[in-house]
Amino acid sequence: MRFGVLRFPGTCDEVDAQLACERVGEAVILWHGDRDLQGVDAVVVPGGFSYGDYLRVGAIARFAPIMESVIAFAREGGPVLGICNGFQVLCEAGLLPGALLPNKTLRFVCRQVDLVVERADTVFTNACAEGERLSIPAKHTTGCWYAPPALHEQVEANGQVLLRYAPGESFNGSLADVAGVRNEAGNVFGLMPHPEHAVDPLTGSTDGLKLFQSIANSVAAHV
């Protein structure tokens, strides 16, 4: 299978994302100004500071030419993973519920966090076990997931929360400790922590690889 990893001006984690994808398949970088997804099987919207985070995080990237194609790809059921800034972009694009607010402390935080897998029957978590803890680094200033009460209730009722910060691990103030949430259809998922930075024993944890492996498993099952 082949992943497409987006690159906007200001993206900085696309190479790590590409290397993570290459552990389970092939991966190409897709430039924000292009429209061609080159027939990829899954799209990763990586972390960074697309368009300098101007106006609001993710607000400008949402209108990039490549995003028109990503939105169409997602509407057709293609798997799309948003990491950190990618999560913010997908929320702004209306592909994922809610929005990311500044951390409650207003500080940039970079540290390893423990996440709890809420569901393991999904495109993005099928290589995990339900209730399993994943150790993955997080590094952001604007990662406090928020949804208005009615939307939050709906997201929980639909089982759209796939990852939560383990008790005591959330530093950003996210509602209900939400670390990662998917869309209702189940093919678009975003999270603030960085699974692409946790794929090699050299850096301490390979738990992040399970999310990429899950996508590969899912694509293989549908081919």
Binding site: F63, N103, K104, L106, Y146
Partner: protein
């Protein structure tokens, strides 16, 4: 002729506003007592030919209606407009 328009964007009521809270805490420390309900938002100024379209601009780009309220203020005719 274009109009000068100001768009005031602020966090919706009830949304965590750590910037507002930080400012609210800082003021008494400087001797400014009696300040409450501080919120920090954005001011966007623009010259537009058709001010009736600014609401749509806010909904689509200038604000995120899920988390922010916006207010459109018609400022004055733009310089050289």
């Amino acid at each position: 002729m274009s109009r000068r328009v100001r768009v005031l964007v602020r966090p919706k009521a009830g949304i965590l506003d750590p910037q507002g809270q930080a400012v609210e805490r800082a003021l008494p420390a400087l001797g400014f007592d009696g300040v409450a309900n501080v919120h920090v938002g954005r001011l966007i100024e623009l010259d537009v030919e058709d001010p009736s379209r600014v609401g749509e601009m806010c909904e689509k780009l200038l604000a995120n209606p899920l988390i922010e309220d916006y207010e459109i203020v018609d400022a004055a005719p733009a310089h050289g407009g």
